[in-house]
Subunit: 303 residues, 2 copies
Amino acid sequence: MAQTSNGTLAEVAAASTAGPAGLSAGTIGDSEFDRDTAVARRADEPGVYDAELSAGWTIINAVNGGYLLALLGRALSDALPHPDPFTVSAHYFTPSQPGPAVIRTESVRSGRTLSSGQASLFQYDAEGREVERIRVLASYGDLGALTGEVCTTAEPPVMPPLAHCLGASDGPAPKIPGSNAITDRLHLKLDPATVGWALGAPSGKGEMRAWFGLADGRDADPLSLLLVVDALPPTSFELGLKGWTPTVELTVHVRSRPAPGPLRVSIVTRNLAGGFLEEDAEVWDSADRLVAQSRQLARAPRS
Amino acid sequence: MAQTSNGTLAEVAAASTAGPAGLSAGTIGDSEFDRDTAVARRADEPGVYDAELSAGWTIINAVNGGYLLALLGRALSDALPHPDPFTVSAHYFTPSQPGPAVIRTESVRSGRTLSSGQASLFQYDAEGREVERIRVLASYGDLGALTGEVCTTAEPPVMPPLAHCLGASDGPAPKIPGSNAITDRLHLKLDPATVGWALGAPSGKGEMRAWFGLADGRDADPLSLLLVVDALPPTSFELGLKGWTPTVELTVHVRSRPAPGPLRVSIVTRNLAGGFLEEDAEVWDSADRLVAQSRQLARAPRS
């Protein structure tokens, strides 16, 4: 699959996923997502990158964890010899806020098919001291070098076609405390079976399903999948819990390069206990390939 | 749930899980598992621990990854202010061998309910230089301080009672290349539906289920759950693949203190693709609580 910008594919994708905001079509390397996850390597400090956390990806009272993971993933993609995230494990320490950040990476080991590294994202306190927000361990490889062999029993989520799913423009805005800015960056169409929370009638099931695209039509790539797994409303909304569901730990496996076109995302919570819950996400591409799997441990909202 | 040694509970557990080796009953704090995962804090180097990797926990050509995770988990339990692993993410770089090892820990952040840290396990090369085997990020808490609230849709695995499942003493030893030493440390009784691999007739399904106990009857605790999630034969055996399935990354969520008595472990692989596979494990205790969830990314065997 070509990872370089491809006019024809991008146009097709833009036509199928362009959001109501009518933003100009973004292509891989030249999009809202790419601009807002850009990192600048410091010339005098190897492995250190400056970044600006965009206010455009905030939700409730913090910057979205998937967006942050993509930003860390981009730094590691530059720092490590292999290009693609295979497995990325992130532990979230403190909520990130829009503004400047610095990412410090460490290359731990370089093997033939996999290389491994670590990265931390810091912001600054009132005295200008670095405060660590997130730390990540990751193993990178080359998805293009994998064999084509697929032996899977997993099946794509059962959900209505995109045209029958519901987005931000299809009804009154649901009541979410704080910022909802990320909504404008995404072309998210929720399975009607999992929108009860927005209408005051949560299903009681820990499930959330949606068609996913970036609002400017940029296609998915391995890096953006790190965002995708954490970009839906939390399953806790459908369990009748409002408020923020802060991620403690999130691990993503990227299993294949996504084909162009909209993605399907299914998130399931099976065990809410003792004030914590897991969210298991699967991401399927337009070619019916399971392209990413993730699991996170999060704190349940208090309500 | 009392974590201290309890004669009566330990005797019950020993009676129900004592292995054919006829080992003396082990209790928490005084067992094969505790002896072999012991770590010795260096007096002159804060956060550094010496350990001896036991040959008793080897499988095929390396020390078992779950055993190693428990060893790292024990060091972090000492180094961090909170006692119990809540989520532990490990990236495995090089295979560990029996013999001396050193664990270097770092306390990253201490919060009220969670503290986070990092640990690496090193061994020595021929020149005595440290070689990093595994690196771990972890968030610890106090399972005893969690609310009793449980809202779960997950169900225990459907499998026959322990007496109808099959262990090492119930048939000829299956052909496994290299060491099989870990078998003697465990009282593992496999669901007959997932033992086809040992008889030359793998089911073709990526499933493995077993009743789990330690051979000396020691009860499970949060630390031993880090072993349990990686102690069954790999699901790839039932997919007809022989040989080693090296773990790239393994993340465990410990969700509750396990009740005394045998555990049920279910492992499922849904996506074997491009030479990699995931293994999702669930561990259920004798009180029907989901006590641990894990996922690993592993390389598929070549055969």
